[in-house]
Amino acid sequence: MGNPAAPKRATVRQMIAKSAGNKRKRAAERAVPVVLFLIAAVSVLTTIGIVGTLVAETVTFFTKVPFWSFITGREWLPFSNKDAQFGILPLIIGTLKVTFIAVITAVPIGLSAAIYLSEYASDNTRRIIKPVLEVLAGIPTIVYGFFALTFVTPLLQTVIPGLKIFNALSPGIVVGIMIIPMIASLSEDAMSAVPNPIREGALALGATRFEVAVKVVLPAALSGILASVVLATSRAIGETMIVSLAGGATPAFNLGFTDSIQTMTAYIVQVSTGDAGYGTPIYYSIYAVGFTLFLFTLLMNWIAHRITKRFREAY
């Protein structure tokens, strides 16, 4: 070390200078942003293509069905031969019913799980429970659908006598179960990000762990928690298999939870798996419904984005 007369070996400075002059490395350095740009462009173009198709077919739909009757109509009877009706409100209501039940099922459970994991669980417990949650998130939705239809619905029927075999309640609860891991996991991340000194400050004032969780950590992590709820809501709105299997195929313009419904997604499945002729209003209607669904989830994501920006905590 520190022997300036050492023979042969280049100094670190010389080695660095040599490496910086390396032509191949410089060329690669120039190519990297181009390649990355192209890859990014593919995904952007795909998205634009999908939205473009959606918009084009939706516009065609509105040449056959008046826009106004689509967004204000209370009857969705696309298969009626002599008097087809394309009022989307029943489908929207169906989607909102399921989403509402799902969210009120999932938020209390998901948040409790997040509080437990972040504020009470030992590292070991957390190491076991988190992967279990992730498994829950990885179950195919068709399995959830059968679970709703063959287990939850019969179970609920023993408590609620008037409950039909297809209804809004059972798929709502099961969609809720499906989004619990998302709320729990994202909220736990937000709560774990609250620095420990803040917790210690509260504990040192004689707060109990629960008071620390509810009155310090929860408010401090509020933006992340709200964002998780909104993203989970967005997921519930777009959920398809569970509602197709357990919700039924009867668009309903009412607020009951016990009768068969149809959601926007379930309608699209129904038409896609049937034999709607190309060029018929029914064919185009799935694009119009799909576009409406797209607007809903877009709105949700925008709200989530606003929340995280608006309530961002500075620790």
């Binding site: 803040i198 210690e200 004032l205 707060a207």
Partner: protein, 276 residues
């Protein structure tokens, strides 16, 4: 050594008469008896015996890693937040052993306030920070809370700086202001003892001076234990000083005596800056 003391006090702008007479008769707040503490296998505190008396400032000095923070965190059992901590011995707070199995630890922490090395306000408004303690202990009446907040902020010598913006986030304040908010937060539940772990080490000199003056005033109403690695600070503001080294108390005495005429060679070496 005496000259060192005088110079220190002059530099702080304090008159030499500010050195308080320390009668030994003041009642005990804390009495630590043969305390040992281990982090896993690491023996961090060894046979500590230390009395802490009412309305005094007790300073804890020593090189870093000697166990100052560990000791002060043991006094309100915050040290238990670390996994794998074991203790033996006793700490009597107001004559009761805080390690008793059924000791109400939240009650202990309500009676014993703590100010941390780095200011750690809650990400809430200034008002809500100070009102947090009273609120969790059941005080809801807005008028009473208003009074507590004002009194505590005045007590922490920061009322005039923040009275017009009580609803702004505490994080918008400077570090020194944040630290005084944390002191106000501790004062708001009218504790018996205030523990301070290097409360000025993250602060600029002017904020440091403000906090030091504040400690002098708080002595009237509270018993204070303050950790500092700054010997001049200990000399300026404390009545008694404990010198920690490698987890042991090497010397514990009246501050004036300790800084002018230390009993042990290692104490003298440390306070004269020969190591540490």
């Amino acid at each position: 050594m005496v000259q060192v003391m005088e110079r220190t006090r002059e530099r702080a702008g304090l008159k030499q008469t500010a050195a308080p007479a320390v009668p030994d008769v003041r009642p005990l707040v804390y009495d630590t008896k043969l305390l040992n503490l281990w982090y896993g296998n690491h023996h961090a505190l060894k046979n500590i015996d230390l009395p802490i008396r009412e309305n005094e400032v007790t300073a804890i000095i020593g090189p870093s890693g000697c166990g100052k923070s560990t000791y002060i965190k043991t006094l309100n059992r915050m040290v238990e937040l670390v996994d794998d901590v074991r203790t033996s011995g006793e700490i009597l707070y107001r004559s009761r052993n805080i390690f008793d199995r059924n000791y109400p630890v939240e009650e202990l922490r309500t009676r014993v306030g703590m100010v941390f090395q780095k200011p750690n306000p809650f990400p809430k408004s200034i008002y809500d920070n100070v009102a947090y303690g009273p609120r969790i202990h059941g005080i809801r009446n807005r008028q009473i809370l208003d009074e507590i907040v004002e009194k505590s902020l005045r007590g922490a010598a920061i009322w005039d700086e923040v009275k017009d913006r009580l609803n702004t986030n505490a994080y918008s304040l400077s570090g020194g202001q944040q630290q005084r908010i944390c002191i106000a937060r501790a004062l708001a539940i009218e504790p018996d003892v205030i523990l301070m772990d290097e409360p000025t080490s993250a602060l600029d000199p002017i904020s440091t001076l403000k906090v030091e003056e504040l400690v002098q005033e708080l002595r009237e109403d509270y018993s204070i234990v303050i950790v500092t690695h700054n010997m001049q600070q200990a000399a300026r503001i404390s009545d008694r000083t404990a010198f920690f080294l490698s987890g042991e108390v090497v010397e514990f005495d009246e501050t004036d005596k300790m800084f002018s005429n230390p009993e042990h060679k290692r104490t003298e070496d440390y306070i004269s800056g020969r190591f540490g």
